[in-house]
Subunit: 196 residues, 2 copies
Amino acid sequence: MRARDENKEIAIRQKAVEMIVKEGLDGLSMQKLARAAGVSPATIYIYYKDREDLIIQLALYASEKLTCTSLENFDPEMSFEEGMKLQWRNRARFFTENPTEMLFVEQIKHSQHYEKFVEANKEHFRDVMKKFTANAIKNKELIELPFEAHWSIAFGPLYQLIKFHSQGHSYASKEFHLTDELMMQTLQLVLKALKP
Amino acid sequence: MRARDENKEIAIRQKAVEMIVKEGLDGLSMQKLARAAGVSPATIYIYYKDREDLIIQLALYASEKLTCTSLENFDPEMSFEEGMKLQWRNRARFFTENPTEMLFVEQIKHSQHYEKFVEANKEHFRDVMKKFTANAIKNKELIELPFEAHWSIAFGPLYQLIKFHSQGHSYASKEFHLTDELMMQTLQLVLKALKP
DNA sequence: AATATAAATGAATGTTCATTCACTTAACAA
DNA sequence: TTGTTAAGTGAATGAACATTCATTTATATT
């Protein structure tokens, strides 16, 4: 038995994500990817069933990495403010350290692959967050809200800020830079909205 | 001189947007599009320079429609609460009446075409919104904030809600439905965050 | 009715695409 | 050392791709 060459797998993943972010989903060709990763086209099919499977697997892998990072040092028993601050910082850090993967996940989330992507998503994160919010409500740190409304207020602004920062934006100033200070200022306002 | 057949132009636009939302940017082929729109492939090239031009033009057209809708009955002199309520309702209405175009714009915004899309965007909307916020700050209805932070809090949650509603979401309940009531409840919290 | 003009076409071009397959290579078990 | 297994390959295949072009068609003007 010959062992899989881990470097090949990593090279395929990394080059694929790069290609998609740079040239779009329609810029990802199996042959170009093989050349970029230094493997034979046929090798990719050892790791992935077909082109779509490749895309979905990559998205799941990257998204799992984001979820794990966002839960680092997190505990659902934390105070609401403390927990939110940690999650915002963790997510922002993931984006700073993995901008390409972050853009990739956002692209997939807004593509036709979204449904398959969601189906396969684990429930663990959802459960932790539900516990966190239930706890915060119990401690009168958070108003009662449908989960979707809560999520939208709690994280919608963060993702919007990240998008402003990552690509420039029709309405963003050219010189816009996402500082930790601005992020925390924004978070304080979000907390103001969500406190009883 | 033979006049352009407006129906053909509309058919191309409509089918292209449908195709992209259903099958993704990599699912849009000029020949398939021509067949779907009932025209010759060559006809498309009368209207658009090439495939990318087609995509960008479609995105600009749809985005302009969204901007116009969002400014319907809007006046930058309105009170902050009134103005925000109107914009939220206008945007939600656009989404309800044009779900495919809305998804299309969101897809382009998160794709590699984003930069070209932004470059070509008009400044009118930005100016109106700047006037609106400046006015609200003067009237002590809005705290002072960098434009990006303000925008993120003011509209980030709305777009997140729309996404929850349009596709289901990893963390959304299966039965989630975006009612006007929930939207207005969420807006009230956003306003709470942004009021001095 | 004749002319001019641009819209519209269908077939054709050369390229690139995803995927497969017969084959070779590496590593471990015997 | 030899046999077995799966990793890895390069070339090949046929389909689909974006785009072009010689030609036809419709219409507004003369």
